[in-house]
Symmetry: C2
Subunit: 346 residues, 2 copies
């Protein structure tokens, strides 16, 4: 009989609330014969304040044994900026080699977008997750003086770029439009830019059916608001991916419905699934948070583990729910979770 | 009697066409007693193909003697990516210490925006122009092999950050809303992020009337499409500034009306003014390019040289022209220039 052994990290702020709904929908969608085991972890601001720890070696050992990880949100104004981001979120992505950071954007019928004319939006960003300016390389000299110099080093390797580019080509190949766009800034960041461009062009030869193009990251932000329909699959570096996926979320229904997967495709380590939004301390504990992004992250999780039919059911339930919800007054977090759980079970 | 000695760099593609209109409006707006001298330079793709040069020491010596520089656009698909960008545009910004890269965004009444509901947009981005990931620091080892490693180093100095932050505070102080937002990614790029944040907070003490806030660059792209009215003045690093100003241009009427100044506030070197758009080779030579961005760059140029009344006349002419043009069929490049020249002369 089948089973899923899930690590659950509710985290801070609205993380607790949205994860509860994610698990509700997950339980509802799974067939009777699949045994779901969950173990909750207390990472985040509370643990940091209590112990000074963000993520220990023992934690990593324990997390490693699960099939996958579901995360709500990590971050709180009481913790200095960077401590939980670098000490937990990024540490985990790097430790578990989550090199494919997958972020789909789809504007569903009737869903509000800041763009005029309800454009068609249906693309996926494959963001590199373990290199670029996110490595923590760099440093500071003469800190706090008028002669301070601070550097940040973007590290890009043929190995790291090629594996994520190949993953993106495979995803493009599997989609009807079969189009892949490389987003970079190769006219200014020429060292990293040449590496990305050369690897992209080389791997393209293995995928003759995939149409390719290249655009600079600055121009990409223009297209995301003037012609988002031009995108099918985008592959890009860690920092550019961070920036354009927030914009992509904003134009395709908002951060309340943006899901993401931090994926280790070879499954040497468990992959982690999380909404793109943060912990939103301003609305935490009020039942106002939209759990849809977390529920869609659960669908990505199921797809990663091979439960495609169940993932499809969640996607369909969200589409139906959002379409029906359009223009109606906001519902509470648990009401949305209940509605989605009822649909997937049905 | 007064005089302006201007270096003119039409450059590539539509650069030629838009600069001609910029000069037309400049001549029309200047009072009789101001002597305008111009010298044209042939930088760009043609010169590069003919001589292999992009910008020599002799060129810099010659350019240095002018009061200001007006640039159309540089760049052509026949030149490998990066050659003209690094060899001309960035070389000039660095050589002439253009550390304040000024990019105003204002959505004028009736002007088309991709955003629904015609939001209020009126802010200025002060982009640092001589540091960050644009310094060209970094390199490549094992190029072209499967073991290639390419790095890009973002260099940030207290000196460089403080002068641009202080400039931005002064600009915020001079505006009615007096609000300054720092955009960075200080939770991930902690070395540079701490420097920027600390300098920002320190300089803020000198400007008690200015309201300040901080947002991450990814979140900034969301606000630019969901709530652009929240911004008054933004100060940010070279790369983040590049990205968000293209998005800002897109939402506030398009790249056809986005002006910029590469400013050396101390006037040790001439400042350079240019439209944010590129050379657009696909529409070059057809009289289709909108010269408005170049004309608005001329206004920034005049303001920099102390001709405030003339700059105001250009801004007012553009506002009137755009409002009248709204919804009408597109006009030719020279028609728009003629209309603006007539208005400012009037
Ligand atoms: C919180 C932060 C470290 C993170 C990132 O920059 O990757 C977030 O913005 C995201 O996009 O997941
Ligand atoms: C052409 C390129 C070097 C330039 C930049 O990145 O600064 C352009 O995008 C700009 O914004 O002026």
């Amino acid at each position: 009989s089948r089973s899923i052994d899930l690590a659950v990290i509710p985290g801070d702020g609205i993380g607790q609330e949205v994860v509860a709904e994610g698990l509700k929908v997950l339980s509802a969608v799974l067939p009777q014969d699949v045994k779901l085991e969950t173990r909750e972890y207390d990472f985040g601001a509370k643990r940091y304040h209590a112990t000074g720890e963000t993520l220990t070696d023992a934690d990593l050992d324990s997390l490693k044994r699960h099939d996958a990880i579901l995360l709500g949100a990590i971050g709180d104004p009481s913790v200095p900026s960077g401590v939980l981001e670098r000490g937990f979120l990024l540490k985990l992505r790097f430790a578990f080699d989550h090199h494919v950071n997958l972020r789909p954007s789809k504007l569903l019928p009737g869903v509000a977008t800041p763009l005029a004319g309800q454009p068609e939006i249906d693309f996926v960003v494959v963001r590199e997750g373990t290199e670029g300016p996110y490595t923590g390389n760099g440093g500071t000299i003469r800190k706090g003086t008028e002669h301070e110099v601070a550097t940040e080093v973007s590290v890009n390797t043929a190995f790291g770029v090629e594996r994520v580019v190949r993953d993106a080509f495979a995803r493009a190949q599997a989609r009807p439009r079969k189009k892949l766009t490389l987003v970079h800034k190769n006219n200014v960041l020429t060292f990293a830019g040449h590496l990305w461009t050369n690897v992209f062009n080389k791997v393209a030869e293995e995928f003759p059916e995939v149409t390719t193009d290249y655009i600079h990251v600055d121009a990409a932000t223009i297209y995301l608001v003037t012609d988002p329909a031009r995108f099918d699959v985008i592959v890009t570096d860690n920092l550019f991916g961070d920036i354009i996926t927030d914009l992509a979320a904003a134009v395709s229904g908002g951060i309340g419905v943006a899901a993401s997967g931090n994926i280790n495709p070879g499954r040497e380590f468990p992959s982690m699934f999380e909404p793109v939004h943060g912990s939103a301390p301003d609305i935490a504990g009020q039942g106002k948070a939209d759990p849809t992004a977390t529920v869609l992250s659960v669908a990505l999780l199921l797809r990663h583990l091979g439960y495609d039919a169940e993932a499809d059911r969640i996607d369909a339930a969200v589409t139906a729910d959002l379409t029906e919800r359009a223009g109606k007054p906001a519902r509470a977090t648990s009401e949305i979770g209940d509605a989605l759980a009822a649909r997937v079970a049905g």
